[in-house]
């Protein structure tokens, strides 16, 4: 019998998180701080709108690129938040979560051999998606001394004649790092000079603390070379609804719609109606959740500092990324031992790239009560190691 499998697919490594998930699932009473989704339920008025759309029998396909009302609301939102104007009709596509937007934007832009710059540590999908699209992933290793920001120097050093796309994953999962106005200004200059394109994944844009989120699309000349990806999962606690979007230059979006129409048809109709409500009336929900996350963030950083772990202050997403290098263990050893001895699950930094070695991702998408118990256990564990 012939080998039924594609060599490309077999060659892709399964997510490092998977292995850990299997160990945690075995443990009944473990506290997990390993989740990458909000602990809040989708606000009721948004859920109710989804239910209402079902009651009304809105159970048909929408147009490929998405419901017109939703696309209009997305463009209004982006204009309100970033001051960037997009045409709902030609520059907007509604996707199955931000994940699909990552996939199809890469497929729409890459030819074999094209290089894509991926700053790590980062979300696990970019690298395999680049490979699947026939591109060549080129890793830029971000440094804790730069607060895990991408610097102009690092970018310049990674660009070659074959570089086509830079992925900008900020606010960042797993580090919580953000790029501020001055940081992005430098990057934008290089992008224009070197004539490359940007895919900016801003799924955590609503979750920044004390600092305003800035998008690279806001800079002059950048809208024309940027695909901006966002969605409803993190900001409105709508992970299970699977709804995201991408906006960008008409010629790229048109090709993305083409892939989307053949592979997906359209994003779930119920979710799209709920999302219209989220964008129209959800600002205060986002603020309530942001305030809650911010208190937990401060609480965690304080607790980690008190137990003597280094942790730079992250201003975005809902993760802290403490350094455990002083304890003389690898991330994997620490996480495995912590789970076995104190029954707390955290994710080793290495799950997000090799340069995550020596770090842990701790999520604060949990109640303060939960975090308190977990921090007590981690402190006990760290004290034991230090002895």
């Amino acid at each position: 019998m012939k080998d039924p499998l594609s060599k490309t697919i077999v060659g892709i490594e399964p997510s490092g998180i998977r292995k850990f998930f299997d160990i945690v699932s075995e443990m009944k009473d473990a506290i997990s701080l390993g989740v990458g989704e909000p602990d809040f339920d989708t606000p009721w008025h948004i859920r109710e709108e989804g239910i209402y759309s079902l009651e009304k029998g809105r159970t048909f396909y929408t147009s490929n690129a998405g419901l017109k009302e939703l696309k209009v609301e997305i463009c209004k939102y982006l204009n309100r938040r970033l001051g960037v104007q997009y045409d709902y009709n030609h520059e907007t596509i509604v996707t199955i979560g931000g994940s699909e937007a990552i996939d199809i934007s890469l497929r729409a832009m890459l030819d074999p051999g094209d290089e894509v710059l991926i700053p790590q540590p980062c979300y696990v999908s970019y690298l395999p998606c680049v490979t699947l699209a026939g591109g060549k992933p080129v890793i830029i290793e971000l440094k804790v001394e730069n607060q895990f920001k991408l610097t102009k120097e690092q970018l310049l050093a990674a660009i070659t004649d074959k570089t086509k796309v830079l992925i900008l994953p900020f606010p960042n999962n797993p580090t919580g790092a953000i790029m501020e106005y001055d940081d992005l200004k430098e990057i934008a200059k290089v992008v224009e000079e070197k004539d490359i394109f940007v895919i900016t994944d801003e799924i955590y844009s609503e979750l920044t603390y004390g600092k305003k989120h800035v998008s690279i699309a806001e800079f002059p000349g950048m809208k024309e070379r940027t695909i901006l990806i966002n969605g409803f999962s993190k900001s409105y606690a709508m992970t299970g609804w699977r709804l995201g979007y991408a906006v960008g230059p008409r010629n790229i979006i048109e090709q993305m719609v083409k892939i989307h129409q053949y592979a997906i048809m359209c994003a779930p109709t119920t979710s799209q109606y709920a999302a219209v409500e989220a964008l129209r009336n959800g600002d205060s929900d986002v603020e309530t959740m942001r305030n809650a996350y911010d208190m937990r963030r401060k609480y965690l950083i304080n607790a980690l500092h008190e137990m003597g772990l280094e942790c730079f202050e992250p201003y975005g997403a809902f993760y802290v990324f403490p350094c455990i290098k002083s304890l003389g263990m690898t991330s994997d050893e620490f996480a495995t031992k912590l789970l076995k001895e104190e029954k707390v699950a955290v994710v080793p930094g290495t799950a997000f790239g090799n340069c995550g070695e020596g770090f842990l991702r701790i999520s604060y998408a949990y109640s303060i009560e939960n975090l308190k118990i977990a921090m007590e256990r981690i402190e006990r564990f760290v004290t034991k190691i230090k002895k």
């Binding site: 998930f21 989740v35 979300y123 999908s125 305030n291 699950a345």
Partner: protein, 164 residues
Amino acid sequence: MGEKLREQILMAIDKNSKLTSKDLAAMLGSTEEEVEKTMKDLEAETIICGYPTLINWDKTESEKVTALIEVKVTPQRGQGFDKIAERIYKFDEVESVYLMSGGFDLTVMIEGKSMREVANFVSSKLAPMEAVLSTATHFVLKKYKEHGLPLVHEKSDERMLITP
């Protein structure tokens, strides 16, 4: 900082008064002393009036009956509704009293051990007051949500334990 910290403390303990001043200091990026002082001030100004616990008595052995009474009263010259409201809220049985707009004046929430106890209160204490014109008593059959917190169902964390 002062005004902001006051507001932040109130928001944080509104649904969870169990948080210690150490926790609050960490959560709000302040110091324990500062938090304690601010809370003392808030107590002194009766902005914080107490730290009660939200109990679902229906799940315990003890029998409790809650009633909502619509009361029409004659406001008194110079004192409006405040005096009569005070005369009513001083009774231990009274859980809460609100001045209302619309078809009646005061909403009075009563908690008693039995329907008879509530009925006695209304007929012998509340209704005979000179300023009270009429009462309409409604008994609560089941409580679903109080102080922004649902009382009926507990939902466990259904998220997968580890996700990217």
